[in-house]
Amino acid sequence: MKTEKIYSAGIDIGTSTTKMVVSSFLLKNVAGVTHVPRIEIIEKTVLHQSPIIKTPFINKEIIDMEKIEQFIFQQYQLAQIAPADISTGAIIITGESATKENASEVVHAIADTAGHFLVATAGPDLEGIIAAKGAGTVQQSKNTAKVIANIDIGGGTANIAVMQFGEVIGTCTLHVGGRLIEFQNGIVHSISPPVMKLMEKWSNPLKVGDSAEDARVTQLIQEMVTTLAMTLSGQLTDEEHPLLLGHLPTWDKPVEAVVFSGGVAACIYENDCTKRQYDDIGERLAKSLLQHEQLQSFLWLKPEETARATVTGAGTQITEISGATIQVDADVLPLKNVPVFNCYMDTDKNKFDYTIKTAVERADALFSTQENRSPFALYFSQLPYLSFQDVHAISKAILQHLATRSSKEIPIIIVIQSDYAKIIGQTIQALNPTVHIICIDQIKVETGDYIDIGEVLPSGVVPVVVKTLAFHSK
């Protein structure tokens, strides 16, 4: 049976390192011959892995975008793939790099030049999830039924994602990382702000210039590891904890097993830190993790990737394929950074019109200004079983509330959880043949997510990347 190949790229700009991966996906109709087609990615092959380079900075606050672009184009050459051939993938800026002044500018600029369909993305929760996917932990959780936490410890942050049966059930991010304290010639060279905050209560805090062998360094590492252990066992309840970045843990089942990924994890599993060319606490952090008593009570599983988990996840794991029976206006694709508004449809069938009207109004209030209307996607979740008449009612409501404002630049974008995209898209087309419409299904999103919809592939499906664009501030 016919297959088709698409190329994907992943770029990870982390606190201390930047890396890239180019891979190819094989798409195939996996449904039986007597069924409506279902296109899935059946094979992922990594074609090229870049070396891990130090993230280039112009100064402490500004990322050197030019150097990163040079690096990327050099890697494309080595991979023998033209940027124009890339049809999906992601560039992700993680850890402390995401807090730099030009972080947003960098990812968006690179996303526009580095590939046909590369998307900009960041956010600590998503980082953790992407790392867990890249490390193979999501797959492990499908196979074992255990509640597994993937802890991706890089230079600046530890991104925890907890999953069971292949579903992410919670996330949490901590200021725990290898580069939070840096050394130079045996003395402390820099201490990151969260660590400074942690020492606020100390009578005699560690300072720049102190010895690298100072007992307080060990104490700080212990503090980080203990905080991590408490987080994993659900004992972290202090919202103001200096090492907590963002929200408290959101999972509600006890963690049974742990997997470590990220640069620091390379020292845990491979027992070989020589590759890590940094003079910082990374190595000692890894050792402390291995020795910590409370952490030993978890089952330790091995990741498929350590330092490259996030980039592998970005390059090979975040692309989804839409349902095969969809209605899309090929002229308006690709669409980037479309915000999603969830329109719950579990209402009385007579109230569809009202529900859609309110959803459109609220989405407008959220995403658009008076002068500047921007496109957004309406996400229909929890649709009841629909009859032909119901579909007509929904389509009429969509047209009534969205058609007048739609154009080629602002098409009507509908994302549906269940398998109804073709019929709803087609009905809208029947009612109004000139309106531009993108109606896709079998994608799970939430209000606050952003989606990118790629160009139509020969099999009629579209690649979709779901992400969150929240840049965490300092």
Partner: protein, 343 residues
């Protein structure tokens, strides 16, 4: 298929076994029964079965008939109590314990089984009682089997045909038994029907849609309207013209060959009830063929199967069928021929 119904029937059995059910407990039973009535009659489409269902569920029938609902040990209800007691050594447990409403124990399946259940409609993780399935599993199995049998012997209602605005023709088959034992007769139109088609149908249609109950009338009852309306809309969006749709009672798939010959249709889309199974008795198929004529081989037919609420949603199937028809018209081939031409 219907847990509440299964537990209700079990309750009736249990009460009969105790046989000291007060009127009140009968009354209690009747409450969920009434709520279930609609669903029941849906399952048992034929008149005979509807009566049967009434006998089971209606408390008034039970009381009027004065006969035991279920004859245990083949004894009359009057001496049933006696025989029951004689078989028991401990009278008190059976006389004084008031009858409480029967409930199956809650399923206590592990999270992994629950996760696995999401991926299959098969009866997994149902437990066992000794070497046998549990009562609940067994009754559910019987209920699903009965629904399958009913689907085969059921008929599509006149009301639905009127709603779809289609007329009815027949095959050479005279009754259900013959339909099942003589597939060849289900592949030929009756002589009157041929004449009727000649006079009523548009000739040389681009697309001819036909509908038959086939082996499941419930499949047609449940799905055909949505599929048909969605398909019509899809074809009209694609500007493909449709001939005169009609309904065939007791048709077989290959009947499309004779109809294709008769009306000289370019493409036939044949919506027909599938042989029912234990997962669904309401599954419908759409067979599609380019220029079906007498002698057409099976390799030229295409099918989209498993169209029902729990499978391919009928609306989505109808919308998809339109694009399939478009492709067939474009390549002037279907089935294996289409795959070959598509390259």
């Amino acid at each position: 298929m219907n847990e509440q119904l299964v537990s209700m029937i079990t309750q009736l059995v249990m009460e009969k076994m105790g046989n000291n059910a007060s009127d009140k407990s009968y009354h209690d039973t009747a409450v969920p029964t009434e709520n279930q009535k609609e669903t029941l009659i849906k399952f048992h489409n034929t008149v005979a079965n509807a009566n049967y269902a009434d006998e089971v569920v209606s408390p008034s029938t039970i009381e009027q008939s004065n006969e035991p609902l279920i004859k245990l040990y083949h004894s009359e209800s009057s001496n049933h109590e006696q025989s029951y007691y004689s078989a028991s050594n401990d009278e008190s447990t059976y006389t004084s314990v008031p009858i409480t409403e029967f409930k199956f124990e809650e399923d206590e399946v592990s999270e992994s089984v629950q996760a696995a259940k999401k991926h299959t409609p098969a009866r997994i993780g149902v437990g066992r009682a000794g070497t046998r399935p549990k009562t609940k599993t067994w009754l559910k199995f019987r209920l699903d089997h009965a629904a399958a049998v009913d689907a085969v012997y059921g008929e599509v209602t006149e009301e639905l045909l009127q709603k779809l605005n289609v007329f009815q023709v027949t095959t050479k088959v005279t009754d259900k038994e013959e339909y099942i034992t003589r597939p060849d007769l289900g592949r030929r139109l009756s002589d009157e029907s041929k004449a009727l088609l000649q006079s009523k149908c548009q000739k040389n249609p681009k697309v001819q849609i036909i509908i038959s109950n086939g082996l499941s009338a419930s499949a047609i009852e449940e799905n055909v309207q949505d599929v048909y309306l969605a398909l019509q809309q899809s074809l009209s969006n694609l500007k493909i013209e449709i001939g005169t749709t009609f309904y065939i009672d007791k048709g077989r798939v290959a009947l499309m060959d004779e109809i294709g010959e008769l009306l000289q249709a370019e493409v036939i889309v044949y919506l027909i009830g599938e042989r029912p199974g234990l997962v669904s008795a309401e599954s419908m198929s759409a067979y599609i063929c380019y220029q079906p004529r007498i002698g057409t081989v099976e390799a030229d037919r295409m099918v989209v199967s498993n169209i029902h609420k729990g499978g391919i949603p009928p609306l989505e199937a109808g919308a998809y069928l339109g694009t399939v028809v478009q492709k067939i018209l474009h390549y002037k081939a279907s089935g294996v021929g289409l795959v070959a031409k598509e390259g």
